[in-house]
C-alpha cells in the first residue's frame, strides 16, 4: 500500500482543511460583479385561480430592475420530468405541465408566482411584498386515497383525474399472488404510512445565473448533485440553450440527500433572467423557502399482505401503495415508488411470488421525489415491519423467521426483476448478533425495568439496489437518461495527476477516496492525485452522485481510465528501456523489466510523454491523458442486518435509542473511515424519520411544518454512539473495484429497527399494540399505551 493510503486505508480527508478553516467555496459564497438579486413571491394558498396580479407599485420601489411573471416565460419550456412510467394497462402516466412561474393556477403553497429582481436582496423582498395578487381559492386536495375520489378537486384541470399512474408489478403475477394468499396457511396484513420527509441538507439551495454577451455563453452556479444533468435538462428542455453555450458549476455543495438532484425553477429563472437583464442574477433560498420549494421525500400509504405456509416459509407478498407526487412531477419522481421500490419488495428473502400495486397521486402539496434511499426505505420498512408482525402472530422468533427465509444462493433472480449477484445474509446476521450482544439483551431489559423503563429490541434486514444503473435497463423502464459515469485522468509532465470525474462530491469525500484508487493502481503517493468535479466546463459528461453510485459507477470509470493510462505508460516505458511491452511491470512508482534490474521512474515516463525526444512517435501519440465512460451491467446489492434497542418512558411515551448496531456488507471498501461516516449519517436520518421527522399539511394544504421550529430534525442528544461494522464483504461481481455503495444503507435499514423495537418494548410490557406510524412520537406512544 502507498505510504499515505491506497485502497482500504482510513485516510483522513484532504477537503476537510478548507471546510475547517472557513475557506470552502459554496454557491452562496460566489458573487459576480454587478449581480442583481431575485426574490420569489410564492403562493400562500394551496390551490387557486390567479385572477389578477398588480405589480405597478412594486415596480416603482427602490432598486427594482424587473418583475417577471408567467407571461415572460411564454416562449420557454416548463420543467421536464426525466422518467416516464407506463401503467398496468399499458398507458403512459399523466404528465402535467410544470411552469417556471405559476400560470393560471397555483397548486401548492410555495409555488413561485412572480420573481422580483432588484439591486439588493432586501429591495427585492420589499418590492415583492408590494405586489398584489388576486387568487380565487379553490378546495385543496391533500389526502391521498381521497384525491382519487370522483368528487375530489382536480389539481390539474387538463388531466382526467388526480391519478398519475396505476402501476402493477409484476402484472402477470397478480392472479397467482392473489391465489397464493387465499391458499396460505397464514396471512399477516399491515397498513402503514411512510411519513413525508424534507431532505434538509444544511446548505439551502442557491442559484447564480450569469451571461456573457461577448460570447453568448450562459453560466449557472448552483447547489447541485449533478451539474451535467442540470445542463442537459435546462438547456435542452427549458431554455433552449445548446450545451456548448451553457456551463453549469456546482462548487462545494453543503449536502444533498436527493433534494439537489432535481432541476428546479429557480435555476432556470436565474439563467434566463441574467440574459434578459444583462446582469448576473442571484437567488439564495431561506430555510422557510426550502421547506416549501425543495422536493419532499417518501409519503406512501401502504397495505401489505405476507403469506406463509404451514412451515413459516414466505409464499407470497402483495402490496397496495398510494404514493404522493405532490402538485407536479419533479425530475425523477415517477421512478421512486415504482422501479426503486417495487423491485426491492423481495428483500433478503426467497419469496416466490410478489405483486406490487402503486397508485401515484397528484395533490396540492410540494412535489415529492427521491430522498436518501428513494423507494428502498419504503420497501424495506413495510417488509421488515410485516415480517415482525407475522413472527408475533405465529409465536416465532423474528430473527429465526428471517433466517429461515433468507436467500442463500447467488446469483439469485428475484420475482421482481432484479438479479442479486452476491451476498451473505447469514453472515451479516451472525455478525449483528455478536456485535449487538443480543445474548445480553435480557440483562439489559432487567436493568431498564429496575429503573421503571420499558425496553425493546428490534432487528431487521435490508437490501438495496445501488450504483444506478445499466443504461439499457433503465431505458426500458422509462428513464429519459443514460446512467453511465465518466472519468478523465490527466497525467502532467512532472508526474502529478488530475482526475476529472462526472461524479459530484457534496460530503462523500471523493477528493480523498478517488486518489486512493488511482494511487493504489499506480503505486504512487495519493497526494500526487487531485480531483476536479462539479464543473461542466472541465469534466467529462457525467450523471452525478445519487443512489450510492459514485464509487461503484464513477469509481469504475476511474479504474478504466487509469488502466488506459497504465497501458500507454507501459508502452512508453518499454521504449525507454528498449524492452518488450509484455515484460514491463508497474510497482512502487516505477516501471521495470521483468527478470532484470532495469527500471524507469514514473516521473520519467510522464516527462517523456510530454517531451517526446526519445519516444515512439510513429506508433504512439504524445501526451498521457485518457477518458473512460463506464456503464454498469447490473445494480449493486449492499445488504445488512440492524439492531436497535430502545427505552420507552411509560409516563410520557418518550422513546430513547439506547443502542444501535449495524452490520453491513458493502463489498470491498476503499476508505473505511468515510464508509462508517456515511452509515452514521444514514442512521441518524433513519432514526429521525422513525422518531422525529414529519412533514405535515392541514386539510387546506397549509404546510404546518415549515421551519426547524416545527419540523423536528435529529440533534446530537437524540442519537447514541452507533456500532457499525462492514467486515462481512461479498465483493460486487461485476465492477472492477468490487464495491457496492454505502450512502443510503443507514437510512434504509434503520426505521424498521426502531419501530420494531418500540413495538417490542410495548408488547413486553403487556400492551396490545401492533403498529405505530412514524414518527413514533411521545404522544403516539402514550396514546397507544392507553389502548
Amino acid at each position: 500500500m502507498p505510504a499515505d493510503g491506497g485502497i482500504g486505508a482510513a485516510t483522513i480527508r484532504r477537503e476537510d482543511v478548507r471546510f475547517l478553516t472557513g475557506t470552502g467555496k459554496y454557491t452562496d459564497d460566489i458573487n459576480i460583479h454587478g449581480q442583481a438579486h431575485v426574490h420569489f413571491l410564492r403562493s400562500e394558498i394551496a390551490h387557486g385561480k390567479i385572477k389578477g396580479l398588480d405589480k405597478a407599485s412594486a415596480e416603482q420601489m427602490p432598486g427594482v430592475l424587473k418583475i417577471f411573471t408567467s407571461d415572460d416565460f411564454a416562449e420557454v419550456g416548463g420543467l421536464p420530468c426525466g422518467w416516464q412510467v407506463t401503467d398496468r394497462h399499458g398507458e403512459a402516466m399523466q404528465e402535467p405541465a410544470h411552469p417556471i412561474l405559476a400560470s393560471g393556477k397555483v397548486r401548492h403553497v410555495g409555488e413561485p408566482i412572480a420573481a422580483v429582481v432588484a439591486e439588493s436582496r432586501e429591495q427585492a423582498q420589499d418590492a415583492a411584498e408590494a405586489i398584489s395578487v388576486d387568487i380565487e381559492e379553490l378546495p385543496a386536495v391533500v389526502d391521498m386515497p381521497g384525491a382519487l375520489e370522483d368528487s375530489a378537486p382536480k389539481v390539474h384541470d387538463d388531466l382526467t383525474s388526480n391519478l398519475c399512474y396505476d402501476w402493477g408489478f409484476v402484472e402477470e403475477n397478480r392472479e397467482a399472488v392473489d391465489e397464493a394468499i387465499r391458499n396460505a396457511a397464514h396471512v399477516t396484513t399491515l397498513e402503514l404510512r411512510n411519513n413525508r420527509l424534507v431532505a434538509n441538507p444544511m446548505e439551502p439551495r442557491v442559484a447564480v445565473g450569469d451571461y456573457t454577451s461577448a460570447s453568448g455563453d450562459s453560466t449557472l452556479y448552483t447547489t447541485s448533485q449533478n451539474p451535467h444533468v442540470i445542463r442537459l435538462l435546462m438547456g435542452a428542455f427549458v431554455l433552449g440553450i445548446p450545451e456548448h453555450k451553457l456551463r453549469v458549476v456546482a462548487p462545494d455543495v453543503g449536502g444533498g440527500f436527493g433534494a439537489k438532484i432535481f432541476h428546479y425553477a429557480e435555476e432556470a429563472f436565474c439563467t434566463f433572467a441574467a440574459k434578459n437583464l444583462g446582469r448576473a442574477v442571484k437567488w439564495t433560498s431561506t430555510r422557510s423557502e426550502a421547506f416549501m420549494s425543495d422536493a419532499h421525500g417518501r409519503d406512501h400509504v401502504t397495505k401489505i399482505d405476507l403469506a406463509l405456509d404451514a412451515e413459516n416459509n414466505f409464499t407470497a407478498i402483495r402490496t397496495e401503495t398510494h404514493a404522493n407526487m405532490g402538485a407536479y412531477l419533479s425530475t425523477f419522481a415517477p421512478s421512486v415508488p415504482t422501479w426503486l421500490h417495487g423491485t426491492l419488495m423481495a428483500g433478503n428473502y426467497k419469496t416466490p411470488l410478489v405483486y406490487v400495486n402503486v397508485k401515484a397521486v397528484f395533490t396540492n402539496t410540494v412535489p415529492v421525489d427521491a430522498y436518501r434511499g428513494a423507494g428502498r426505505p419504503e420497501a424495506t420498512f413495510q417488509l421488515e415491519r410485516v415480517i415482525d408482525k407475522a413472527a408475533r402472530e405465529l409465536g416465532a422468533d423474528p430473527i429465526a423467521l428471517r433466517r429461515q427465509n433468507f436467500i442463500t444462493e447467488f446469483p439469485y433472480a428475484t420475482p421482481v426483476a432484479l438479479e442479486y449477484d452476491t451476498g451473505n445474509y447469514v453472515a451479516t446476521m451472525d455478525r449483528l448478533e455478536d456485535m449487538a450482544d443480543l445474548a445480553g439483551f435480557e440483562s439489559r431489559l432487567a436493568e431498564s425495568r429496575e429503573r421503571g423503563m420499558l425496553r425493546g429490541l428490534g432487528v431487521n434486514c435490508y437490501i438495496e439496489a445501488c450504483g444506478i444503473a445499466p443504461s439499457s435497463l433503465v431505458g426500458q423502464l422509462g428513464a429519459r437518461a443514460g446512467l453511465y459515469e465518466s472519468a478523465t485522468v490527466r497525467v502532467n509532465a512532472t508526474g502529478g495527476l488530475v482526475v476529472m470525474t462526472g461524479s459530484h462530491s457534496h460530503g462523500q469525500g471523493h477528493e480523498t477516496a478517488f486518489p486512493q484508487v488511482v494511487a493504489d493502481m499506480l503505486g504512487i503517493d495519493a497526494g500526487m492525485v487531485e480531483v476536479v468535479h462539479g464543473d461542466t466546463a472541465n469534466t467529462p459528461m457525467g450523471m452525478g452522485t445519487y443512489g450510492s453510485r459514485s464509487l461503484a459507477v464513477g469509481g469504475s470509470a476511474l479504474v478504466r481510465a487509469t488502466e488506459k493510462i497504465i497501458s500507454k505508460a507501459k508502452r512508453i516505458a518499454a521504449h525507454l528501456m528498449e524492452a518488450s511491452e509484455a515484460d514491463i511491470e508497474l510497482g512502487g512508482g516505477q516501471f521495470s523489466v521483468a527478470g532484470t534490474d532495469k527500471s524507469v521512474a514514473w516521473g520519467d515516463v510522464c516527462l517523456a510523454a510530454y517531451v517526446p525526444h526519445n519516444y515512439p512517435l510513429e506508433d504512439l501519440e504524445p501526451g498521457l491523458e485518457e477518458t473512460a465512460f463506464y456503464d454498469p451491467s447490473n445494480f449493486t446489492y449492499p445488504a445488512g442486518a440492524y439492531a436497535c434497542e430502545v427505552e420507552v418512558d411509560p409516563e410520557t411515551g418518550k422513546v430513547s435509542i439506547e443502542r444501535f448496531s449495524a452490520a453491513d456488507d458493502f463489498g470491498n471498501v476503499v476508505n473505511p473511515m468515510i464508509v462508517e461516516g456515511q452509515v452514521h449519517g444514514g442512521l441518524a436520518q433513519g432514526i429521525g424519520q422513525a422518531l422525529l421527522e414529519d412533514c405535515v399539511y392541514d386539510e387546506n394544504g397549509q404546510l404546518l411544518t415549515g421551519s426547524y421550529m416545527d419540523y423536528a430534525m435529529p440533534r446530537a442528544d437524540d442519537v447514541p454512539f452507533y456500532a457499525v461494522d462492514h467486515s462481512c464483504q461479498t465483493p460486487c461481481t461485476h465492477n472492477p473495484l468490487g464495491v457496492k455503495g454505502c450512502g443510503e444503507a443507514g437510512a434504509i435499514g434503520s426505521p424498521p429497527a426502531v419501530v420494531n423495537a418500540v413495538i417490542d418494548a410495548l408488547q413486553r410490557a403487556g400492551h396490545d399494540v401492533e403498529h405505530i406510524d412514524m414518527p413514533v412520537s411521545p404522544s403516539r406512544v402514550w396514546h397507544a399505551m392507553q389502548g
Binding site: I12, G255, A723, V724
Partner: protein, 159 residues
C-alpha cells in the same frame, strides 16, 4: 451607518443598515464567508461565532450590536502558523465533518464548550450541541472529535 469591530484580531469596518444581520455583515460586507446561514429561525447553529468571548448565533444579532466588539469566526481558529487548531485537527482526524456546511458553527460551539468545561462527558457534549444541527454525520464523529480535542481517550468508542 458605519460599523467597526475587531475580527480575528484585525480592525475591520463597513457600512450596514439597521436591519443588517451580523451573519450578512460578515459574509457580504467583510467577505468572511466561512460563517454560514442554514436557517432563518435561529435553530441550526451554522452561523455560530464568538462575540466578546461568548458563542452567539450571528443570524440572530444585528451587525450594529457588535459595533466595537471583539469577534472571532472560523477564519480565526487556525494556529498562528496556519496549521489547524486543536479542535479543527480533531474534527479532521475523527471525520467530524462531511459536507462542511455546519462545520464552522460546530467548531465555534465546541470551542465555547471546552472553555466552559474542559473535559465534557458524551452527554454534556450532546446536550451542549442542542443548537447545532448536522445532517451528514449523525453526530457520532462530532462528539468523538470534541472528546478527543479535550484530551479524552476515544479509542474505545465504537466505530
Amino acid at each position: 451607518m458605519k460599523i467597526s469591530m475587531t475580527v480575528n484580531g484585525r480592525e475591520m469596518s463597513g457600512e450596514a443598515e439597521g436591519r443588517t444581520l451580523m451573519s450578512d455583515f460578515l459574509r457580504n460586507t467583510l467577505k468572511l464567508t466561512g460563517t454560514h446561514v442554514g436557517c432563518d429561525t435561529s435553530q441550526c447553529g451554522s452561523c455560530v461565532i464568538h462575540v466578546a468571548d461568548r458563542a452567539v448565533k450571528s443570524c440572530t444579532m444585528f451587525a450594529a450590536e457588535a459595533d466595537g466588539a471583539c469577534v472571532k469566526t472560523i477564519e480565526g481558529m487556525a494556529n498562528d502558523d496556519g496549521s489547524l487548531g486543536t479542535i479543527q485537527q480533531a474534527f479532521q482526524d475523527h471525520h467530524g465533518l462531511q459536507c462542511g456546511f455546519c462545520t464552522a458553527g460546530m467548531v465555534m460551539s465546541a470551542d465555547a464548550l471546552l472553555k466552559e468545561n474542559p473535559s465534557p462527558s458524551e452527554s454534556e457534549i450532546r446536550d451542549y450541541l442542542e443548537g447545532n444541527i448536522c445532517r451528514c454525520t449523525g453526530y457520532h464523529n462530532i462528539v468523538k472529535a470534541i472528546m478527543a480535542a479535550s484530551g479524552q481517550d476515544v479509542e474505545n468508542i465504537a466505530a
